[in-house]
Amino acid sequence: MLQTQPNNGYPVGLDVGTSRIVTAHRVDDDFQYKTQLNAFVNLPFSKMTEKTLAKEGVPHSIHDSEIVVHGSESERFADLLGVETRRPMSRGVLNPDEPLSLLQIQKIIESLAGPARAKGQKLCFTVPAAPVGEEGGVTYHEASLKQILSGFGYDVRSINEGLAVVYAELESSNYTGIGVSCGGGLCNVCLAYLSVPVLSFSVHKAGDFIDSSAASATGDLVNRIRITKEDAFYFNGYFGDKRMQALSIYYEDVIQTLVAAMKEQFTGSKSLPKLNRPVPLVLSGGSAMPKGFRERFEQVLGACEFPIAVSEVRLASNPLEATAKGALIAALTDQ
């Protein structure tokens, strides 16, 4: 069963993240968002279950005599059944080990955006930058998503995830600054100068790395760790709990790795413009949300002799939705 959200025929911003898929629409002067977890779980088929899911409005479909619950509800079912959710994406791109990746991602996008309402309706979706040392690694992912979205009737273009953060948050500095999106599969970084992306790259260590590493350290299900992380984790906490301890360690690792990569990439780049004033840096994404993340990131950045003068490090106003908003702004400017 599909739950199609109203689509007003105006441009759509779509953030296709490893962890979540978010759509953004502009309604009058407001931005509206819809989110689904980019995950699914299989349940044994029974007519009773199917009927109950339909009655409760839980997004699902039937596949090979199994019920597939997709989107945000899958997490609840996985937790109840004590199994892991299946993930259409991994490390920022389509999961090569998941045979249902394209099908399920299509279902989730359809449940959020629905088909185009008008001919030539613009849709801009996010794609990660190539991970450091893996140039060209996102081509298949980008092309597959374009195909799915074109199939829904949209006029499709893509935008780099870090640049989307710049478009969403850095209007006050004329879209000059550094956008960092700390997501599930990757951390994406983009330096933009007057809206032009100058340097962008991604780093593999992100939210999923934290979840899976902490899960293997504690023996918990990854899904359980993710729920704990999102519900209760914060920086500089005094924890006696092993899960929190492990999360704290791996979060620190992610920040250190990200800042080290940023320093290396910016130092090594020959295409940096000469910036005559310090630029702002915006953090977004679900992995940047725990209390204290911004402060810790700023601390590590400040200690590393970063080659670009940074005027401020701030958290996006809506970290979970900034990327979709940036994609929408890009789509709106294409009109």
């Binding site: 450091v132 040392g133 478009y167 209007e171 004329n174 879209y175 007057l194 809206s195 032009v196 992306p197 500089n236 906490g237 005094y238 924890f239 006696g240 709990d241 092993k242 929190m244 301890q245 704290s248 360690i249 620190e252 690792d253 250190q256 790795t257 080290a260 990569a261 290396e264 295409s271 810790r296 702004i329 890009a330 709106l332 400017t333």
Partner: protein, 393 residues
């Protein structure tokens, strides 16, 4: 990019910024900027013939100017960024050279100071992994986690003790064996010194023993809660009586001395972090010190090679506003440790410094402890401790 082009871009960027700043709508502003900056997405490229010429001259330069490589490698270089140390340590402890392991047999270990450790009762437990509170920064939790012990808590097993004489030899050995089995099951201490002065390792030093869960101690820099994780538990097979302090024999004292020397040497443990269970034990429900009272008096610090640590300020009193009752006074033999007086003085000094009444200051410090304790308790860190210590002490 040619100099003239750079100058031109600079000049035009200034104009673009000036115009962009006059646009209020973010979408319109971006639209304008993207249009104005069109063609600047990529650095301008040299013409093909120029690039070919440049490449040719670089290659020629390499051939003619550089010496031939002496080592050829087909190793693939990969991006590498520093990750955290494996055990969550920020610093590795210095290597000790004072006391060293001489022989590492299957069951027994012999050390250079005469210490002999029996591992026949050794059992596995959780590895140490703990946070500390920074005393110089208002008890902020540390960012790095630790996995090595920083101190020693001395206990007495408070188990039944028979007469210590040759005709009781078999009985003494049987009691010790039975005690060790029970302590092993509960993972009660890291080390046990029986009445013959034999040292048994029950839980390895890098692992947690359930010897002092509700506890507080501090050195100059750091405060430690739940000393199971941060301190090594060393227990004497011994028992106190009503109004009678724990007594141990010379063999046990000698064993404790060489064991303490080895542990301090191996883990660089500070002398002020070698304390007794009574000094660290607290009762979180009534916020009084001395929930466990083993070694509340008479611990032979000097004989073990330590200064009298009863003189050290008791951090549960000074930092968290704990109190003590008459019962605890009695266990000290009605002679208060000097450290209690010092902690009380410190408590008063800080209250005056902060302009608070003593009652208000105590309430603030106790609230601080309660918050930290709740964090430990809610997350289940203390559960194991309760079960284990209830059954052994």
């Amino acid at each position: 990019m040619a100099l003239s082009e750079r100058v031109r871009n600079r000049w035009s960027d200034g104009r673009i910024v000036h115009q962009a700043e006059r646009i209020a709508d973010p979408v319109e502003k971006l639209h304008f900027l993207r249009h104005a900056m069109k063609g600047r997405e990529q650095a301008p490229r040299r013409p093909v013939w120029k690039r070919l010429m440049l490449a040719a001259s670089v290659i020629a330069g390499f051939f003619f100017l550089l010496p031939p490589p002496s080592v050829v490698s087909d190793a693939v270089t990969v991006e590498h960024y520093a990750s955290l140390p494996a055990q969550g340590l920020s610093r590795m402890p210095q290597k000790s050279s004072d006391v060293w392991l001489v022989e590492d047999g299957r069951v027994h270990e012999t050390y250079s100071n005469g210490l002999r450790i029996d591992n026949s009762f050794l059992v596995e437990n959780e590895p140490r992994f703990y946070q500390v509170l920074d005393r110089r920064h208002d008890l902020q939790p540390s960012i790095d986690w630790r996995s090595l012990p920083v101190g020693i808590v001395f206990h007495s097993t408070e188990s039944s003790i028979g007469p210590f004489s040759a005709d009781q030899n078999e009985n003494l050995k049987r009691v010790a064996q039975s005690l060790l089995k029970s302590l092993r099951e509960n993972r009660s201490y890291n080390f046990v010194i029986d009445r013959f002065g034999r040292v048994f390792r029950v839980v390895s030093e890098d692992q947690v023993a359930n010897h002092a869960g509700n506890s507080v101690w501090a050195d100059d820099d750091l405060v430690y809660l739940n000393l199971n994780s941060s301190f090594i538990g060393v227990a004497f097979e011994a028992q106190s009586g009503p109004g009678v302090p724990v007594t141990v024999n010379p063999a046990q004292i000698y064993a404790a001395r060489v064991l303490t020397e080895m542990l301090r040497s191996k883990f660089k443990i500070r002398a002020e972090n070698c304390v007794t269970h009574a000094q660290v034990s607290v009762n979180p429900s009534n916020l009084r010190v001395g929930y466990h009272t083993d070694w509340a008096a008479g611990f032979p610090f000097a004989a073990i090679g330590l200064r009298n640590n009863y003189d050290l300020p008791v951090p549960s009193l000074s930092d968290f506003g704990f109190e003590y009752d008459t019962l605890f006074r009695k266990t000290m033999g009605n002679e208060l440790w000097r450290g209690i007086g010092l902690a009380e003085q410190q408590f008063v000094r800080e209250a005056v410094h902060d302009g608070r009444s003593l009652g208000e200051h105590r309430r603030i410090l106790q609230d601080r402890y309660r918050r930290l304790y709740s964090a430990l308790k809610l997350t289940g860190a203390l559960e194991e401790h309760f079960d284990a210590t209830n059954s052994t002490q």
